[in-house]
Amino acid sequence: MKSTRLLAVLAALVLVLAACEGDAQEDVTTTAADGATTTAADGATTTAGDGTTTAPGDGAADGESLLDEVTARGSLVCGVNDAVPGFGFVGDDGTFAGFDIEFCRVVAAAVLGDSEAVEFRVLTAAERFTALQTGEIDVLIRNTTFTATRDGTEGATFLTTTFYDGQGMMVRADSGFASIDDMANTDICVLQGTTTELNITTLSQARGLDMQNVTFEDNSALQAAFEAGQCDGWTSDRSQLAGVRSQFPEGPEALTILDEVISKEPLGPVSRDGDDDWSDAVNWAVIATIQAEEFGITSANIDDFMETDDPEIARFLGLPDPTEGTVFDPGLGLPTDFAQQVIRQVGNYAEIYERNVGEDGLGLERGFNALWTEGGILYPPPYR
């Protein structure tokens, strides 16, 4: 009978909706039940239960912050890259490694006390901000440049810059190009949806070079085109170019990175707008690595600092003050000994840098990425 069939269809629909409710990670219908009604009621969106949205501005006052949710979940979801040697890539044994990967572990060590409690989500340049906005990832540490538009319209909050980079151009060594001004009427390979694409367009227009951009979604297609000679130059962050060059099949000598630095590319972790508690927590976890280097604390010698008389270091490591005996808690929502966890389980900034992009990695000099006391511009704010 027709009505029996209709009833069966309705029952199936209800079952499907009920099943969707059970998924806490990315359900839309449950938050609809709370979010919709409270939006209508008082304008500020607050959620009960396990919602992922918070009121704009002050997350601490009402509603839950991502900090509580991550702590409750026990693992951190980190948006990363898997195709950039030195920053985010998958090694031969199938594990993630790189500068950005280690900062994911830094955040996990600070918030959760376990640097291995991280789930990595590989994202393309085009989808990374959408993934952040929708709550698919907790934090984006994927060689992302800090720009005004991203801060504004992308709903992103940029935290401490971990790597001051610049945009460069890589060409074949036998191409005869000595500088970018030689490259009129050339085709340049570049990734779609990046600041590098915008910058090279602006440069080409300003200098009248009539360069054409050959854009790709990911580095593997781009590299294939570059190797086949379908474009004359490859533009990207200089650190990325160094990584690619170091692993080029024909050998690093086949490629040249031109000297000119096309633009500023400050790279750092990114969190979602509107969740100050979470942003602050992640920010100070990252700053702790730089502060540790300033104090001279490494993962090897941290035990020597456990009995320190220096009140600054004691406060930083979450130890009782030598004179007062109190433990310092700045109210970030992090455990008081988060700096210890970070240094013990991952290391300080210098160690992270050398392991991945320094001497033991890509071989890049510290340059701007050194401490302010050593000629660079890394300047951690005081922990007090």
Binding site: A36, N185, G193, E217
Partner: protein, 458 residues
């Protein structure tokens, strides 16, 4: 008690009355759908506002900030213009791909039924190897291997100066280009577009039963309406109110000439049906086309020139060129869809009843005549709906161009999103545009299908 009152008194209660239940259940279903939709929509808007994301479509007017290869698009133009360039590229691939795939597919489909062993087996090999591979892999292969490696680099391109140039970056052939700066009043293309409209109205009217006064009114009104609409369209697209380039005028006049050629062919067919003499309609149509085309060409003062490609400082001037990504996507989609179309054609030919073949043989028709006059016309009727499906597939598969960096609609929308524009609205626009393409293709193929159907079938 009469039997009618007895029946009237035995009406079931409303909660068991099938007629009422049907309506009630559909109403409940509708309410559920609308409620779920409203909840999802509200949640979307609420979440976007909480994250500070814009919910309107203002981003379409913002400068795009990126270039699109192989077009006149400037970074200062708006996001909407960028999306339109993407639409144009998608249409370029789809249109050429559909035509080529049909031609190749029909040939291979017929080849699979050949009595020649080598021809039959080669066609089978082609079909089976391409049909069973995911189209994305074919696209990668076309881009990396066929275009990327098999063709030479630009410095060593295979070229004949002024005739053609083939390299792994660009393939160029001669083409018509605007010569001189002559302009014509905008009314001229409008006239050229109104003439086919009048012809089509006449044809449409002839097949319908209408009152004489209505017929005459429509015969006057339709060309007039078409003239006004066409004039408006020309003004909207070209901008300059009084002058239009000779090239635009020429291409619109081409439409008129083609329509007239088709009408001449139809007239010859009707003539042949009444008098029984051979119609030679193809020759007549071609003749009309050439003569009228030449007249228009001369009248407009030779508005187009044939130019060949020349390589100057790494850039091609003259002729028409296709970039590596376009060539790769076109090759891949054409070969893939042709393999599917070949199977459809083969199936349609085999679906024509065997009695037709035997009857044709009994009438002493040669195999070619048999295929051309008996089998293929009936096979075409069968194959139109599945072919429409393949055309839709090809159009939607162009979105895979994002994998090789071809700047079609999906790629451009992805760049727009990556540059800080709201994703929900962009994807909504993307889906609407693909829906429009699909509906247009369906519309055209449905019209063809209805024309081909046997009388009495609806």
């Amino acid at each position: 008690m009469t039997s009618e009152t007895a029946r009237a008194q035995v009406r079931p209660p409303f909660w068991r009355d099938v007629r009422i239940l049907k309506v009630v259940i559909q109403a409940i279903f509708l309410v559920i759908i609308v409620t779920v939709g409203w909840l999802l929509w509200n949640n979307l808007i609420g979440n976007m506002r909480a994250s500070g994301l814009p919910t309107g479509f203002d981003f379409l007017d913002r400068p795009a900030g990126f270039t699109i290869i192989d077009s006149d698009f400037r970074p200062a133009q708006t996001n909407l213009d960028a999306i339109l360039v993407g639409v144009k590229n998608t249409i370029l691939v789809s249109a050429v791909g559909i035509v080529l795939a049909t031609v190749i597919g029909v040939l291979i489909g017929i080849a699979r039924l050949s009595r020649n062993y080598l021809v039959r087996k080669s066609a089978a090999f082609y079909v089976e190897s391409l049909r069973n591979v995911p189209v994305l892999l074919i696209i990668f292969f076309a881009s990396l291997a066929i275009i990327g490696r098999a063709l030479p680099q630009l410095e060593n391109a295979w070229q004949v100066e002024g005739l053609f140039l083939i390299s792994n970056r660009v393939i160029a052939v001669p083409w018509l280009a605007s010569s001189g700066e002559a302009t014509f009043p905008a009314v001229l293309p409008a006239v050229f577009l109104a003439i086919p409209a009048a012809a089509l109205t006449y044809v449409w009217l002839r097949r319908r039963e209408l009152r004489e006064s209505v017929r005459r009114a429509l015969l006057v009104a339709a060309p007039l309406a078409a003239f006004l609409l066409a004039g408006g369209a020309v003004l909207a697209f070209v901008g300059e109110p009084s002058q239009v380039s000779a090239a635009v005028t020429f291409w619109t006049s081409l439409l008129t000439v083609v329509t007239l050629a088709v009408r001449v062919a139809a007239w010859r067919t009707r003539l042949s049906d009444t008098t029984g003499r051979p119609h030679h309609r193809v020759l007549w149509a071609l003749g009309t086309f050439v003569v009228l085309g030449a007249v228009v060409y001369v009248l407009l003062g030779a508005p187009l020139d044939l130019t060949g490609p020349r390589l100057e400082q790494r850039r091609i001037s003259g002729g028409i060129s296709m970039i590596q990504a376009y060539a790769a996507l076109l090759v891949a989609l054409t070969l893939y869809t042709a393999s599917h179309i070949a199977e459809i054609v083969r199936g349609s030919i085999q679906a024509v009843p065997r009695g037709q073949t035997e009857a044709a043989t009994a009438l002493a028709l040669s195999p070619t005549q048999r295929m051309r006059f008996v089998i293929l016309p009936q096979a075409f009727r069968i194959m139109v709906p599945p072919l429409a499906n393949q055309y839709l597939n090809l159009t939607k598969n162009t979105s895979l161009g994002v994998a090789i960096g071809f700047q079609e609609l999906t790629t451009v929308t992805g760049t727009v999103i990556g540059n800080g524009n709201p994703a929900s609205q962009s994807i909504a626009i993307l889906m609407l545009i693909y829906l429009t393409f699909s509906l247009l293709i369906s519309l055209v193929t449905n019209i063809i299908n209805r024309r081909l159907q046997m009388a009495g079938r609806r």
